[in-house]
Point group: C2
């Protein structure tokens, strides 16, 4: 969606909005960490994010990669920066085409800094000299497809001391077809407000977003303001001087300063704010809290997972639960799908998930890091200990779980540890929810005045012997439980889910999905965005078992660790269990055998 | 579905099953009454029904009409009888083609009685002489499409005293391609059991269903047994003799006799029973009760409405609520649809409902009956009185409601009467249900171990002034209410349902349906079979207003009644209201104004 559409919506709803700017990290690990950060900061509700362009450097490729991932995987409306520096027309065309293909609709068109090692800006052959030319070119080539932002300089451009001429440049960019303006950072609100008034006076009517860079440390602040020739009011220096050696105090001051600046602008009717985050999280979070800028849950979580904003995915409103902890892998494996299921998975299911070979299953950490995390488990019991530690938050990652267990699993954390101790190695779970308000901070999603539901879900690896006993217990006394289990080879799907559907036969039902998360909202159909689907389970299975192989491969051939891990991979089952009685949140834990039953009985007594 | 498939399923589930036989009534009113009866008897859970063929008479057309309607409208798996009598091959072809087009898959192939007025059976030109020939012909022409039943005569055929030859005829019919056997009526179970054993001995392996005709009155019983030369054991005559003048006593005896006969057969392993109902309901119902033959609710009510068994409707699992009281009209208006929505109405919505002119909107009763029912209301208040009486069960039909208010509306009957007294003329409603078990006798439907939900729904005609007030009240203080209102001309759809959907825009939402009945079942997606859909509401509106015209047309031009009814038709709105907070069953009644509020307050106090 275009940023201007989002601004118009915020204006219509008479509310403030905000956006975050990131830069492409230099290392692959830095990129991975930025993704985690972006995903967390999604919940702060930015209307969009910006990713800067590093002209000529290899990080312009990283810019494209980060933009594409933010848009497709994390569902962040992304604005890609594009500069004229070192960019011949062919490269500009490639960048714009790639952006369009990724579903990105917003470009911030900049002239950019002079090429590295040169003092003055020089145009590259077949390239552009001015941002206005770039704006014009994008408009000519792409018509209305892109929403184009341009930079505004409240204190004038560093290279251009003539403010009047600077204002004329801005007007040129607007006239060339820009849609909105983001300003360079500033620390004097009055300068911004005067300049803002000046813009309006000469007929610039586009939305103008002030850019704020929270002060993170004294040295960085000095360098940045000097480089950009930013005017810093004396009271800021006075406040920083006594605390300049105390990073925490500087950060806290920076937060309060930004809050004060925003409040002053807000009082004059400014309602949108752009934050230069420097890829940092804490200050931005604290500023938004201080401003009481809280994104309504229906806007932050329209669905229980972040909807992808990639091209052709607008209608995607259902996903299998299996990839919940590996969202990026799911997006990549499904990116070539022609269309996404429109609510019922069954009939419009795409023919195939991408092959796992296509993108490579990886542990997401270096071998050294992995060994440090998981050490050298030499048997099933030691392996189970790692899973238990993960449940107890003493281990931050497992091959199947990129990050720590989600907050909503807190309620069942100790039960999960017990199950793992009994040899059921859990890799995914969700608790039962019987009609929580859609505004619930933990479980809520979707439009207001609705109710959301979850069936309890568990997914784990299990030995053939333990699976046989589990199946017998379910068959004997758990009519509300359905399960699917499959080994590495996928020769046989073991399941008890053969109930016939209202209109289809038993065979059809075998292939039909189970909704495990759904919501009931005013004036809508029931939304059922998360399912357990036997067909996609077969695809997920390949990936889940391959991660055992990758883990085993960390250890020397013939070593005890390798044999133990490979043994599980080769003979155990991957099993998913749904407790269909979502009105009993403990029922799913009652299927794991006698000792578990005893524990459950205690839990019942203490309920 | 084929009867043999249903028999196999019952066998696999080790349960008894039963079927009902009807004959085509002579009058149009009789047909209408039979439909009502069939619909009620649907809940008794017959595995299938038979409709007899009246060879040569015009009632063979009625047979086809009743079969088609039972299959398509009432969702009863129907077996059409077909006889050789007076049936040249062309007529047989027409009958079979029509049956196939209607989705009927079961034919009982009979030779039939001699043509009317003739003592002996004669073959008609280009027709068949024996049922076996008819069976063979159907097999040749239609391959495996039809499941073919044939008649068995435990006491031998009346025209054929040679039992051995009779058994050979049966074997011929089986060898010609029959799939199952239904017997002629009998009253001596031993005769049936011996004959049954004989059939097995000579190699007849097909399912055999004993046919039972409950004794309804003494005269009829005598005539029938004499006509069919049925052997009647002396103890039956002995029992009937003293009570033969007492119809009720005879019927009760007939019920008990049938129960005893069935139990005796059951004890030998017979598990399927065919009842000659003579289009009567009570005896069959009492016999099933006596046998404790109760159809599981998941079988009787796979969905909250009876799924149609017409061709191409297998996947139909969602319907607009508007036609709930005019199911036949809905089936007829949608019968030319290529495909039925597969769960989400929006994307696969068929382009158009049939025009109402195509089949004619009718009051379903003669003008005389209508006048007797509704008298001569001369103003809006007197018209409202009729609606109130309907709510109070003092009036059995309204133009929009074919039959008395359904049991599930009992809970809100008096509230409805109050609303009508305030000028909101209600024609459809359902109460809120917050997760009743799917086995609930009143609200339950669908597979076992599930939960069903309903949003409270009301549909009514309302004057423009009252609608404006209602809209203001909803806007001011009822965020959980959504409504649509439209007048006869449909120039403008008035609604407050403009909430944006998770993935679509507000405009898309305007056209999106609201689920008002849904169910959550083990191992399945959420099933949402009943919706409020603004698109189909436009089609329903035409029909709903046309019924005012039909009603008005009962009265002389210029009469007060005609003017009053026509006035409502021409200027009032049709409005539907959904209370999206299904956790508050009374909320929907709080929108009807001050006096209503006062009443509600009283109700709250007494809750």
């Amino acid at each position: 969606m275009k940023i201007t559409q989002k601004i118009a919506k915020a204006d219509a709803e008479d509310r403030c909005f905000w956006s975050f700017e990131y830069f492409p990290p230099k290392t692959e690990a830095g990129v991975v960490n930025l993704y985690d950060r972006m995903e967390r900061m999604y919940t702060l509700g930015p209307e969009f994010i910006d990713v800067t362009w590093n002209a000529g450097g290899s990080s312009s490729d990283v810019t494209m990669q980060v933009c594409t991932t933010a848009q497709a995987v994390y569902g962040l409306e992304t604005c890609m920066h594009l500069t004229c520096t070192n960019m011949p027309r062919e490269k500009i065309d490639i960048a714009l085409n790639d952006a369009k293909a990724a579903g990105i609709q917003n470009i911030l068109a900049l002239r950019g800094d002079p090429p590295r090692g040169e003092a003055n800006w020089t145009k590259c052959e077949t390239g552009f000299s001015y941002a206005a030319d770039l704006v014009k070119y994008i408009r000519e080539q792409y018509g209305d497809y892109f929403c184009i932002g341009v930079a505004g300089y409240p204190e004038g451009h560093t290279e251009n001391p003539d403010k009047e001429q600077d204002m004329k440049h801005l007007k040129d960019k607007c006239d060339a077809g820009a849609d909105y303006i983001v300003t360079q950072l500033f620390y004097d609100v009055d300068i911004f407000l005067n300049w803002h008034a000046e813009c309006r006076k000469i007929g610039i009517t586009l939305p103008i977003l002030p850019g704020l860079m929270p002060i993170q440390n004294y040295g960085g602040f000095k360098r940045m303001t000097s480089m950009c020739s930013t005017y810093v009011p004396q009271h800021i220096y006075d406040a920083l001087e006594p605390i300049k050696e105390d990073d925490k105090a500087v950060k806290d001051y920076g937060v309060q300063l930004a809050i004060d600046m925003c409040n002053k602008m807000k009082a004059t009717g400014i309602n949108g704010f752009h934050f230069y985050t420097l890829n940092l999280e804490r200050s931005t979070r604290l500023i938004l809290e201080g401003l009481k800028f809280i994104a309504p849950i229906e806007q932050v979580r329209p669905l229980p997972w972040n909807p992808s904003l990639a091209k052709n995915r607008e209608k995607e409103n259902v996903r299998p639960i299996f990839w919940r902890n590996r969202m990026k892998s799911y997006i990549m494996r499904t990116e070539s799908w022609d269309e996404f299921p429109n609510g019922r998975w069954g009939d419009s299911r795409s023919p195939a998930y991408g092959e796992i070979d296509g993108y490579g299953v990886s542990l997401k950490h270096s071998a050294e890091e992995c060994l440090e995390l998981w050490n050298h488990p030499e048997n099933e019991s030691q392996i189970a200990d790692l899973f238990i530690k993960y449940c107890q938050n003493e281990l931050s990652v497992l091959p199947w779980c990129d990050s720590q267990m989600s907050g909503e699993s807190d309620a069942i954390r100790s039960r999960l540890a017990q199950i793992n101790a009994r040899g059921f190695l859990t890799i995914n779970s969700q608790p039962a929810v019987d009609g929580a308000p859609s505004s619930d901070p933990l479980y809520g999603w979707g439009p207001k005045n609705g109710y959301v539901y979850q069936k309890a879900y568990l997914e784990f690896f299990v030995s053939p012997a333990a699976l046989a006993k589990l199946e017998a217990r379910i068959e004997a006394s758990h009519p509300f439980i359905t399960y699917y289990a499959v080994d590495k080879h996928g020769r046989e799907m073991r399941t008890n889910n053969k109930t016939s559907s209202p209109t289809g036969g038993a065979q059809q039902q075998l292939q039909a999905p189970t909704a495990v998360t759904w919501g009931v909202f005013p004036g809508q159909e029931i939304v059922q965005p998360t399912i357990v689907d036997p067909v996609s389970f077969q695809s997920w299975k390949d990936e889940a078992f391959e991660l055992w192989n990758k883990w085993a491969a960390l250890y020397a051939e013939g070593s005890k660790s390798r044999r133990a891990l490979q043994g599980i991979c080769d003979s155990w089952y991957l099993c998913n269990v749904v407790s269909n009685n979502y009105k009993d949140e403990h029922a799913i834990f009652d299927i794991f055998g006698e000792a578990e039953d005893a524990v459950a009985a205690g839990a019942v007594a203490s309920r």
